[in-house]
Symmetry: D2
Subunit: 398 residues, 4 copies
Amino acid sequence: MKKVVLAYSGGLDTSIIAKWLQDTYSCEVVTFTADIGQGEEVEPARLKAEAMGIKEIYIEDLREEFARDFVFPMFRANAIYEGEYLLGTSIARPLISKRLVEIAKEVGADAISHGATGKGNDQVRFELNAYAINSEIQIIAPWREWDLSSRESLMDYAEKHNIEVDYKKQSKKSPYSMDANLLHISYEGDLLEDPWQEAEDEMWRWTVSPENAPDKPEYIELTYEKGDITAINGSPMSPAKVMETLNQLAGAHGIGRLDIVENRFVGMKSRGCYETPAGTIMLKAHRAIESLTLDREAAHLKDELMPKYAKLIYNGFWFAPEREMMQAAIDASQENVSGVVRVKLYKGNTSVVGRKSDNSLFSEKIATFEDDGGAYNQKDAEGFIKLNALRLRLKSLQ
Amino acid sequence: MKKVVLAYSGGLDTSIIAKWLQDTYSCEVVTFTADIGQGEEVEPARLKAEAMGIKEIYIEDLREEFARDFVFPMFRANAIYEGEYLLGTSIARPLISKRLVEIAKEVGADAISHGATGKGNDQVRFELNAYAINSEIQIIAPWREWDLSSRESLMDYAEKHNIEVDYKKQSKKSPYSMDANLLHISYEGDLLEDPWQEAEDEMWRWTVSPENAPDKPEYIELTYEKGDITAINGSPMSPAKVMETLNQLAGAHGIGRLDIVENRFVGMKSRGCYETPAGTIMLKAHRAIESLTLDREAAHLKDELMPKYAKLIYNGFWFAPEREMMQAAIDASQENVSGVVRVKLYKGNTSVVGRKSDNSLFSEKIATFEDDGGAYNQKDAEGFIKLNALRLRLKSLQ
Amino acid sequence: MKKVVLAYSGGLDTSIIAKWLQDTYSCEVVTFTADIGQGEEVEPARLKAEAMGIKEIYIEDLREEFARDFVFPMFRANAIYEGEYLLGTSIARPLISKRLVEIAKEVGADAISHGATGKGNDQVRFELNAYAINSEIQIIAPWREWDLSSRESLMDYAEKHNIEVDYKKQSKKSPYSMDANLLHISYEGDLLEDPWQEAEDEMWRWTVSPENAPDKPEYIELTYEKGDITAINGSPMSPAKVMETLNQLAGAHGIGRLDIVENRFVGMKSRGCYETPAGTIMLKAHRAIESLTLDREAAHLKDELMPKYAKLIYNGFWFAPEREMMQAAIDASQENVSGVVRVKLYKGNTSVVGRKSDNSLFSEKIATFEDDGGAYNQKDAEGFIKLNALRLRLKSLQ
Amino acid sequence: MKKVVLAYSGGLDTSIIAKWLQDTYSCEVVTFTADIGQGEEVEPARLKAEAMGIKEIYIEDLREEFARDFVFPMFRANAIYEGEYLLGTSIARPLISKRLVEIAKEVGADAISHGATGKGNDQVRFELNAYAINSEIQIIAPWREWDLSSRESLMDYAEKHNIEVDYKKQSKKSPYSMDANLLHISYEGDLLEDPWQEAEDEMWRWTVSPENAPDKPEYIELTYEKGDITAINGSPMSPAKVMETLNQLAGAHGIGRLDIVENRFVGMKSRGCYETPAGTIMLKAHRAIESLTLDREAAHLKDELMPKYAKLIYNGFWFAPEREMMQAAIDASQENVSGVVRVKLYKGNTSVVGRKSDNSLFSEKIATFEDDGGAYNQKDAEGFIKLNALRLRLKSLQ
């Protein structure tokens, strides 16, 4: 091992990993730090990396790529894992993997490394996606290798190796394991390890509680083109800007909190809390614009495919051919999914109250309870029912 | 046609149908009126039927059968149609059909009749479910036969045939086409025929608006046994009582409103508004108890089957063999779905905040971020990832 | 109704229909006759049409379009209906519908007409596919309208209207209802209406019986590019030529006979016999080339989608958006499905005996039972199994 | 490790394993040898085990349990893996695992052991199924642990430890890795490792080649009750006897050979040849009896579930809850799958030529091409088509 590209947050854990890699493998370490909307400055990572003698330092703003090429395609599918989870962490990993592998090629590194533990889904996501892009890449997962199994031993290691520990930050540190990006922030561990115990109100960071949200509802209009939001309240916006704007709007109205027990790919159940402000609105609104513009059976096919699609992303198979096949089917359905959705935001509630489209398949003329002037012949229903019933009638005689 | 059993609500429309059947077919009419939790007295239907000379009058309280044998099994499947609709109307039709056909047999009738129009789903549901039980039954759907196509012509018919019209009630009548039972109340037509227009606040009947709901949240605990709720806040209750209790709790907190455009089986899109107070809580809570007690792949199989299961119920195939096959699979999964779910109700929000079970598959020992004493060997993850990656690596070389 | 385009075979039945349309609707009739490989001359239809005073006569050779745009895409999906049927009739109907509607537009006709009965699938396929292309098209299905319910009454009608009946041909006529195109010939009716009775040997037309096939096997090599056969035994061929060649080869070896009871879309079961010589080889060989070149999960996704895909084609939904979505997914998987398959033909058997590809995902180095030099680390299997087992172990304690 | 139960064939490899376990773990070894129809005597294993000082020796005839509780339920599902493979090896492993774990409990053993390598599916099947039954069981897979990586080193080990090697048998030994049971015999390795090379004719053991099969076809009748064969040519038989009889019949007619490249669960492709004589007939015949007695949508649901069901068995998840859920659905469909199927066997071909049942859903009255006396109203088809077309027509205007 000559050179390793490390997914580096600038935090204590990945700083320790950088040092540990240098020591254990006597290799050069290249750091890669990305802004994917986690809400923290990424530039400070440069100084910290330099302090450890890192020479090749990659710091990149990937927010637009993340929103456009990962989050938006996923929302075209109305993806939800296990009926609840909007896949906030899962969808960010393939992008990081992709850049790690690309940078490894650029700098001539033989391996990549990440700070995910051996119990979670993220190691799987990082590694499967990396292997899918480069069969030969080597991957170092320090948490599965080293013997630093407690926070204490980590701090000892940091001290021993002169890694700067911001003790003030450490002591104020949330007791939760967290992950954040444009789509969500997640919380695991500590009190949450008892699934009967309610999450503390101070845990949540991106949304006010519904109780503290404004007493007045707010209405917004989302413009869709081919399945993607392109404007909010009439103002055109880039994908990342759409998400940032919706995060603020939804967060202010207490929208997007979730508390679940989920099934990890590695076989265990875990409890997680999530704030997905923009995503919560995006899912509802996308379904609404589809309800008007998407053919029934196309919509139902999407619904039947969705659980598998969501599972693939959750399990780390974004760059797998079966996900790409499904995406081809999903994208083929979005050609006419354009129009405007009106949404009411109020104390945790996201309510679709109106939807319109030039491509609407809703025909008032046909659907009306009033006289339809022959647009629909009620007599047709008899034959329709009779032939749908035929097999059931034969079976009832069996 | 000698004798026809009519699904009779006691309202004006089905009274006209009763008369029309008597006149058109010169047949005896038997009325069947059921209490399935629609929230209106059913006894008044007796007097009205008698006034029309009906001799065989069936009035039945089917609330427990409806909740126990139809709603509860459906909620074991987490059924949602098109991502939103909880199937409130759909699930009531098969029970009515079943009783119509059974009564027809008891009274020696050759046909049954219902008041559903030729444009909607309900005609299909009534008829498919009836044919599935009795291949030979004849079905009269007056709305598809007669020429009374406007409200005016109906009123004329009523007047001409001395059917009592409560003009006060008619004038106060909601402009919406409505349907209600223990699970929901629905609204269609009138202003709703423009999907861009927001529903009026005075339309909603079973829930307060979130804005008018109490400012203080309420916590409830739901006890599950084998996938069904058997107690609320520790008090054992029958299925119908569970639903009535939850309807009141949820309704008071503004929970369960829905406004959607849906795809009818007969091929058109229609806009509907729904209040499903109990059902909204039941879906969330059932998923929560499953999250703790149901195996991952069993849960995912249920999620993959669900869209088709929901579609079958929506389309009127409750008594079809494929629904029964799916139910067998679903019920087989619920053996250990027992425990307690804690839910917070607040201004339209249903939030699961805790879940516990003697059958929990959540292992804190394994899931913990702290030292797990070897319960889980992180080294296993490497082999797991490597073999999951093997096909992707080979493919990346292709 | 001013002008009607009729799908015209030149046979007695559609000649009667042409006359009946002229008489019943006093409209101009345009005939459309296509060569889709049914093995009969199409030019004679011109004279017959002219004899009835038809002025606009369309006669077209659609064999290449049929093979390239309909049969080949379908075989990329390995489509089989109900585990047996290769969809020979189903896949030809959308092409005919498409041309009928296109011609109607060209000649300014308001309607199209076909000779399918009211009991079968073909009426549904003709009409759904036509409506999917042109919402406003009118469709006349004489068999559902007229009162010519017996062969006798048809002959009377012919005589009365001076439609030439080739009595010799009629008397020699097969007692079976048949349909033929490049992909298959089908037989229904007569003796076959008893599903216990074996088909007579003289019924079959395109294949010799296995008993009469050569005693020596024949080997052929099929070259695939992106999922389609492009050469046989090294000779490049067009899609239709591929099918004609395989029909001859397979037919000579007694390959492709099938005798089944199937479920029609209109609700009844029917018994059909089919000869699908080329198709039988194409299905086997396509699976074989995929077995070498297609990723496992891509292949499994295709297998999961296939029954629904086949059902859509069987039911007449070729031009429906859900079929197009599935096709997008399927086609996306075929990029690397190239190579050569070696097939042995012998007395009814199609046996794949070899397959090779430049895109092969088969790695002898990894798969070998011999020493693999570390290409695969057997230790990885332990972790793989352990984590796959984790949920099962937790469940066994439940 | 005090005591280990070993799946013991009596052959050289598992004899070496027995010795290796004794030496490596200094533990007592219990051998378990089962007759599952592999066609070899199992009693000789006793002497060999005794010679190694084994004290607890289990030798069992599991043929009936295997056929009745594993093979037959699987054939109710028409299970095929990847369109071709009848799962002969896969379905035997869970039974062996179950007995290993049960015996371990009886004799107080802490572990079980098997002779499957670290590259194949069988290790996964043995171990997942064992863990699913007993969470605490320990499993020793010598092939993943020891350093005996070549045949030579195995022979050395045998010699060094006085394990009797029947050199005559070894030298005559097939070059293929084989596995056999009532359902099939499989061949892997050696020449087959080149997927382009045709299998040698002398490899096949259970079937004559089609070329050498009788020149006269043979007809047999299979009686089904609730989805299972209960009699052949009118003679009632137990499940195992059914399979033995069909194996002989089919084998004599050259039926059941298969040569494929398949995708292993561990991520690689491998080439395998299989003889599945009875199974080949059973699959065809079961589909035929279902074609007559099973409702269309029940059949289609089974077809949609099947690929996943087959994959579960292939991957080793027989005792997983999701397989049990699917089995519940499948079994629920078989209530009326009773009747007789007539099959023609001829030189490799299995042709269904007739099927009859008291539960037949085939209605000649309805299906007939002749006058049906009004059993089916052709006019119904118009409404049926019109409403099925409605969404397509609206879409064509989009």
